[in-house]
Structures are given as structure tokens and as C-alpha cells.
């Protein structure tokens, strides 16, 4: 079943590549100035990897972005999940935090960029802050909902078994909310990538977003495509790793069985 899915996926990717050839190189339906041909793409890819573009090679740009993502993501979920859990478990904390959260939540993460740059300059710290805001929200919401949706009788069972508070948190509340928490993690990761590219478009000297920015200024469609696909591949890879972790951690659940 899984094998067949992979085959279907590969066919779809293959189909798109053929379509790409057809629309650009073979029949020229899309002019080369608008969208690069596969050959131009290949040249751009070789250029950035061998000679570098926008100051570094593609691997360096990618590693830099990836490092930013990992740091920001960990900071965001490391703060968001505990906050969400606290809000779900403690009525008073919820009453206190939720109104503030509701007010801050609708502000688009990118709207924080000016403030972040003002506070932290053009370096990585400002980007971490912006990504943190973006990735933080889904983590909080899902951890909160995860606790809220715990089957009441499971909590009562734990209370009846005389569970002390710390063990209640660590062995009952957190595991019971884990399926929802992972939903939040996936959304947080998605939000991290979306925001990273935007943050790097504004002020950066290295990174995939910077490559995109430079390529736009140089009117270099092939390099734009290289940057975009790099984001796609990296995003897919990080999601894949998260999926592996999830399958491991949630092996006990029905969802994790497949």
C-alpha cells in the first residue's frame, strides 16, 4: 500500500517535469523570460553550487536557513506547548493568558518584522523572534485544545489511582494530549518555513530567502526557481523527520498504527 503510494507520487512528480519541458523547451508556450527552461534551471543550480550566488553556495544558504528554522521551531514549541498545556489544565492561567493571547494572535507574524529589526537588528536574532511568533501560535492552540479534549474519565481514573501532581502532568496529561500536540507541531513547522522566507527577504546576507531576493533583483528566473525548490525540498524533509518522530512517539495510538 505504502509502496503504491510512493509510485503514484513519483509519477506525479515525473508528470510535472515532463509538462515543464513541454511548456518551456519543447513548445515554448511559456517564454523563457517568464519561467526558466529545465536547462536554464540546471545551469543556475550548477552555478550556485559550484561558484556560489548571493555570497555563498546553495548548501551554505540552505544550512543557514535550516539552522534558523530548527532553532526558532524549538524555541517556539518549547514555549508554546507548556503554555498551551498550562492554559488547558489551569482555569486561572487560562483566564489570565487567553485574552492577551486572543489579542496578539490575529497580528500577522510578518507585522512583527519592523519591531524585531528595531529591537534586534538585521541579524538572526530578529528572524528567530519573528518565526517564534508565527510558530508559537499553533503550538499553544493545539496543546490547549489537546488538554481540553482529554477524556474526562481518564483523568478521573488517574485521580482515583492516587496519582501525584507531577506524575499526573508527565504520565497522563501530556501523553493524552500528544496527538493534538503533534497536529500543532506540524502547523508550527509549516508556519516557520512560511515566515523564514519572508523574514530573510527583508534583511539577510545569507539564506534561501536572501537567494530569492537577490535573484529577483538580478531578474534571474532560473535562480528564483532554484530558491523556491530548495525551500520546498527542505520543508518536505523537515516535515518528514517530524512525521518519523510522531510515528515513534504515538506508536500506542490508533492513528499511529498505520
Amino acid at each position: 500500500m505504502r509502496g503504491r503510494k510512493a509510485v503514484v507520487g513519483l509519477c506525479a512528480v515525473g508528470g510535472i517535469i515532463i509538462l515543464w519541458f513541454a511548456l518551456t523547451s519543447w513548445f515554448g508556450i511559456i517564454p523563457a523570460g517568464r519561467f526558466p527552461t529545465p536547462a536554464q534551471f540546471w545551469v543556475a543550480l550548477k552555478q550556485i553550487e559550484l561558484r556560489g550566488y548571493a555570497g555563498s553556495t546553495l548548501v551554505d544558504h540552505a544550512l543557514h536557513s535550516l539552522r534558523l528554522i530548527v532553532i526558532s521551531f524549538l524555541v517556539a514549541v518549547g514555549t508554546g506547548i507548556p503554555l498551551g498545556l498550562l492554559m488547558g489544565w489551569n482555569r486561572r492561567a487560562e483566564a489570565l493568558i487567553n485574552p492577551v493571547f486572543m489579542l496578539i494572535r490575529p497580528i500577522p507574524p510578518l507585522a512583527w518584522i519592523p519591531l524585531a529589526i528595531l529591537w534586534l537588528g538585521l541579524g538572526d536574532a530578529a528572524k528567530v523572534m519573528v518565526i517564534w511568533f508565527a510558530a508559537f501560535v499553533p503550538s499553544v492552540i493545539n496543546a490547549h485544545a489537546g488538554v481540553r479534549n482529554i477524556d474526562k474519565s481518564v483523568i478521573e481514573a488517574a485521580r482515583m489511582l492516587g496519582t501525584p501532581p507531577l506524575r499526573m502532568a508527565g504520565e497522563v496529561i501530556v501523553p493524552a494530549s500528544l496527538p493534538m500536540i503533534f497536529t500543532g507541531l506540524r502547523l508550527s513547522l509549516q508556519a516557520s518555513w512560511t515566515t523564514l522566507v519572508a523574514a530573510e527577504l527583508v534583511g539577510a546576507l545569507v539564506g534561501v530567502g536572501f537567494v530569492l531576493n537577490m535573484a529577483q533583483q538580478d531578474i534571474y528566473p532560473a535562480m528564483i526557481l532554484v530558491g523556491m525548490l530548495t525551500v520546498g525540498v527542505l520543508g518536505w524533509a523537515t516535515t518528514f523527520v517530524l512525521g518519523l518522530v510522531e510515528r515513534r512517539v504515538l506508536s500506542w495510538s490508533l492513528q499511529g498504527r498505520g
Partner: protein, 265 residues
């Protein structure tokens, strides 16, 4: 150890003005190692009674005493078996059973010994490392019973524990509970909709009236059971065929029917 007493217990849900009276003047005394079943029309407050003994719900009037002390909070001396099992899905069968023992700070060796014993008692030996979702409903409920029994509680509280099971599994579980009660007698408060189940399992059956719920009648089953030697029959269907069983069942049934008929007025 293990007496339960309801003394003029009342329960109002919601506030005094808009709230409604779920229980009114419930009085019932359950002796040590006695098995009492509560039957009654739906919504009459059976679950509420059990939850007050468990410590999940407070009283609005009167007292609920366990071992002559008022119930304040939930605790492992009053183990609950829930209708929907309420196992920890992220723990294996063994870890589920072991959890309460860890909370009681019982050492590893002793724990292993107790868990192994209760796996054996509930015929779960080959499923110790399975997760709950890998088990059938009947097996899951056996785990829940093992998790409660292994704590050696003073009282066992069971709220329609077999309600979610199919008819055959239910019968097996009823026989198993009787066997368990012989090996290791406990004070049991057992709630059920099934009159036959109540008569088969209980020493006494308390019948509750419709809202606001109160104890309407208490039927002594034990005297009849001993006199008529029900225990001489291995299988549940043989007991259920006995004239003395049918007689008691019909009597409780009629009493419940009166309750249902009153809705019309």
C-alpha cells in the same frame, strides 16, 4: 475495612434557584465485603451516588461515609471500574495495572509480583505488553478490573462495567466477577441496568425511584442464594433457570415497572 454508608444524602446540580434535585434523602448501608447492586430507571441518579463515594462529586445534603469517615477526595482505597474502561491508551496492559501501585510507592519486585498475579487471575498473561487498542472490549474491561483489584482497595465501585460489552462477553465477565469475588471478596457497589445481572451478582439489590432519586426498596438476594444453593451451579444460565432466581428477578422487575409507569402522570 470497607463499609459504605449513605445517610440522608441529597444532591442538587446547578445553583439553588435554577438547579435541580437529582437525589433526595438516599440512605443505604453497605457492610464489609458485601456486594450491593443498584438498579433504577435511567437518570435517577445511580451514577451520581457512585461518584459521591468515589470522591468525584460532593453531596448537597447528608453524608457519604466510607469506613465511617466522610469522603473528601478520590483515592486508591475506593477503586472505580468505569463503563468505558478509561484505560491509559499510551500505556501497555502491564503499565496500566502497575500505575496505581507505583503511586502507592510499592517497590519494583513487589509490583512485578502483584501485576503478574493479577494478569494471571484475569487470564491476561499473554497480553501484558499489548496496548489497550489492540485488545477486545472484554479484555480491556478485564484490564480495568485488574487495575482496580491489584490495589487491594477497601471498596470497588463499578458503574455499568459490562454495559459496553456484547451479550456473550458480558456473561463471561459476570461469571469471572463471581469467581473473583470468591477468591478475593471485596465491598462492591455495582450499578447496572440489567436486573438479571444484579440478581446474579449481588448480595442485596437496591432499587431506586425516579427523579429525584431515592432508595425505594432493598431486596435480599444472599439469603435466597445460600438457601437455594445457587453456588452449586457453575454456569450462569443454570442459575437463571432456577425458580428462586426467576422469582426474585420478576419481583425487582415489577418494582422497576411501577417507576416507569409513573411517567404518565
Amino acid at each position: 475495612m470497607g463499609s459504605i454508608r449513605f445517610e440522608g444524602v441529597g444532591k442538587v446540580f446547578g445553583n439553588a434557584r435554577t438547579g435541580f434535585k437529582a437525589l433526595d434523602d438516599v440512605s443505604l448501608a453497605i457492610g464489609e465485603k458485601e456486594f450491593v447492586a443498584i438498579v433504577g430507571p435511567s437518570g435517577c441518579g445511580k451514577t451520581t451516588c457512585l461518584r459521591m463515594v468515589a470522591g468525584f462529586e460532593g453531596v448537597s445534603a447528608g453524608k457519604v461515609l466510607v469506613n465511617d469517615r466522610p469522603v473528601v477526595r478520590p483515592g486508591a482505597d475506593r477503586a472505580v471500574v468505569f463503563q468505558q474502561f478509561a484505560l491509559f491508551p499510551w500505556k501497555t496492559v502491564r503499565q496500566n495495572i502497575e500505575f496505581g501501585l507505583r503511586n502507592k510507592r510499592i517497590g519494583k519486585d513487589q509490583r512485578d509480583h502483584l501485576v503478574a498475579g493479577s494478569l494471571k487471575l484475569m487470564s491476561l498473561e499473554s497480553h501484558g505488553d499489548a496496548y489497550p487498542h489492540q485488545l477486545s472490549g472484554g479484555m480491556q474491561q478485564r484490564v480495568a478490573i485488574a487495575r482496580a483489584y491489584v490495589l487491594d482497595p477497601d471498596v470497588l465501585l463499578m458503574d455499568e462495567p459490562f454495559g459496553a460489552l456484547d451479550a456473550q462477553t458480558r456473561v463471561v465477565m459476570q461469571e469471572e466477577l463471581v469467581r473473583l469475588a470468591r477468591v478475593n471478596p471485596r465491598t462492591v457497589l455495582f450499578i447496572t441496568h440489567a436486573v438479571e445481572e444484579a440478581v446474579y451478582l449481588a448480595d442485596r439489590v437496591a432499587i431506586m425511584s425516579r427523579r429525584p432519586g431515592t432508595i425505594k426498596e432493598i431486596i435480599d438476594v444472599k439469603t435466597v442464594r445460600l438457601a437455594e444453593r445457587w453456588d452449586g451451579h457453575e454456569r450462569i444460565e443454570d442459575v437463571m433457570d432456577l425458580e428462586s432466581f426467576v422469582h426474585l428477578r420478576t419481583r425487582i422487575w415489577k418494582s422497576l415497572r411501577e417507576e416507569k409507569a409513573e411517567i404518565g402522570h
